[in-house]
């Protein structure tokens, strides 16, 4: 357990950006690296290659168990960004190509995709790319709590809709969508649903059948596995409807070429098993810690909770602060490591597009902090964080005009 800031390192409250690798996972990965380990290429036909292949397939079973799908339905990728791109670009491009010689094309139709403004960049950016390629995209607005109304999805569906992409849990505000309802109405209309489950996998119970999703992406580094490995669940009937992003060698059923990184996959698999085992207790523990944090913060002036108060990930709390500037607030809190918005899009200095989509004004969007708690978080960390925020709010507001 990380000690408090006095020992040097800040208190890590940025588990939604990425997690440390579980020590057991790191040990398993280590065993796949060096000369003493399972380092061979799983495509090699000799005994060492076969052993590596067996490790990969065991890990595939472990990931499948977390999603309640079959191992054969999983494609390993380099992470949720690649999985999202494969799901979205792969589906729309394949549809566009088959339409090119089919009915839709003659009718002058282009593939249509439905998504939401509060999705992760790795969903939104492929959608924008599709627009450049001539596809039509509908961006749904979340309500003020961050929720997407399933009826709004239904209303957006068209005859030429080839994909709906709605995330399970939001990375910035932690709000959890009613995917089951969205999935059910997509099924009704025969439109496949893609779900970005990067933030929910290992945190919430996940079942591809219950989600009624045909495509689901996960990534290891949000659930105490390594960065740079993820997976895409592809329902068997969707397999032929995906255009690959990477060609060359026929790995992963021809959907994703490249040497399989055994240590990464083994780490991912074990991380899934461990996350599943600890899920229920950890969710309860984190929800308690989050409530403790919110209780302290909500006692301060001008503090607003972002996102639905209850339909949310247990470990994520996103808060806006009236009358202070976000960058200064962050800089004034060196004892804690938190995000303003998602780390994944903090390269830009724009105020969070997710909070803007919820209707927050620029100042409040810009002054938001995301506290994301995880396995290393203890009560004292939360208390230190709350006290630090109170101190800095006081200081910065005292300085403001």
């Amino acid at each position: 357990m990380r000690a408090r800031a006095v020992s040097g390192a800040p208190i890590y409250l940025d588990y939604a950006a990425t997690t440390p690798v579980d020590a057991r996972v790191a040990a398993a990965m280590q065993e796949c690296l060096t000369e003493q380990g399972v380092y061979a290429n799983p495509s090699s036909q000799h005994a060492l290659g076969r052993r590596a292949h067996a490790c990969v397939e065991q890990a595939r079973e472990q990931v499948a168990a977390l999603l309640h799908c079959r191992a054969a339905e999983l494609i390993f990728t380099s992470g949720a960004t690649e999985s999202n791109n494969l799901a979205i670009l792969g589906t729309a491009r394949a549809a566009g190509e088959s339409a090119g010689s089919g009915r839709a094309a003659r009718a002058g139709r282009v593939p249509h995709v439905v998504t939401a403004r509060s999705e992760h960049k790795s969903v939104l950016d492929p959608c924008r790319r599709l627009e450049q390629e001539g596809c039509a995209v509908t961006y749904l607005n979340p309500d003020a709590d961050g929720l997407i109304d399933p009826q709004a999805v239904r209303a957006a569906l068209r005859d030429d809709t080839v994909l709906v992409s709605i995330m399970h849990a939001n990375n910035e505000i932690g709000v959890v969508q009613d995917i089951g309802a969205i999935g059910a109405l997509c099924r009704e209309r025969g439109v496949p649903l893609h779900v970005d489950a990067a933030q929910s996998a290992g945190k919430l119970e996940l079942d591809v059948a219950r989600l009624q999703a045909e495509l689901v992406c996960v990534t290891a580094h949000k659930l105490y596995g390594p960065k740079g490995i993820g997976a895409l669940y592809v329902a068997p009937e969707r397999r032929a409807c995906l255009q690959p992003l990477l060609y060359g060698g026929g790995h992963e059923r021809g959907l994703r070429a490249g040497t399989l990184p055994v240590h990464q996959i083994v780490g991912f698999g074990l991380a899934c098993t461990l996350a599943a085992a600890e899920l229920a207790l950890e969710a309860e523990r984190l929800a308690r810690l989050r409530a403790r944090l919110w209780q302290q913060l909500s006692g301060l002036d001008g503090v607003l909770l972002n996102g639905h108060p209850t339909r949310r990930l247990p470990g994520v709390l996103n808060v806006s602060f009236a009358g202070v500037e976000g960058e200064s607030l962050l800089a004034g809190l060196p004892e804690i490591a938190v995000s303003t918005g998602s780390a994944c899009n903090s390269d830009s200095d724009e105020p969070s597009y997710v909070l803007r989509a919820l209707g927050r004004d620029t100042q409040l969007a810009q002054s938001s902090l995301r506290f994301s708690l995880g396995r290393g978080t203890r009560e004292q960390h939360v208390d230190i964080a709350a006290a630090a925020v109170a101190r800095e709010l006081r200081r910065l507001r005292a300085v403001a005009p």
Binding site: A5, V6, G8, A9, P10, G323, V324, E325, E327, S328, A331, G332, P334, E335, D349, D361, T362, Q363, Q366, R395, A398, V399, A400, P401
Partner: protein
């Protein structure tokens, strides 16, 4: 692997703020209002910027003839803005205003570009410094 030093001077060498900006941001000794209204007549105040645009600055200078004898500021903005305000308040104190300079800024203080070089403030933040300059000019113009 992790380190990071004393939380009471927790400047991180990788911090894009830089040590000087960091120290100024932490100090903000000159933040606040001019003292008692009794002396108000000798203070010039000016303001610029808006919260919704990310930066708002108010500067107050106490003059003795052309000499700045005290400076105070209030600011809403990024750490660079706050640090630059603090730095300028320190620099201005004791300075002679420049009669030849059209805006009447003090000698040796220079312009936002010079401030950014002096404090190693990234070019992208120049806009914030311009707001500070506007507030200072507004203060002097109010005299």
């Amino acid at each position: 692997m992790t380190s990071g030093g004393d939380p009471h001077d927790p400047h991180d060498p990788d911090d894009p703020l830089g040590r000087e900006v960091w120290a100024l941001f932490r100090a903000l000794d000159h933040a606040g209002d001019p003292p008692a209204p009794a002396a108000a007549s000798t203070w010039l105040t000016g303001e610029a910027g808006r919260e919704q645009d990310g930066t708002r600055v108010r500067f107050a200078l106490q003059l003795d003839g052309r000499r700045v004898i005290a400076a105070r500021f209030r600011a809403y903005g990024c750490p660079h803005t706050l640090a630059a305000c603090e730095w300028l308040a320190r620099q201005l104190t004791g300075c002679e205003l420049d009669a030849r300079s059209p805006a009447g800024l003090a000698r040796g203080i220079g312009d936002p570009l010079e401030w950014s070089h002096r404090l190693a403030i990234p070019a992208a933040k120049l806009g914030c410094l311009l707001v500070i300059e506007d507030a200072l000019r507004a203060a002097l113009a109010s005299g």
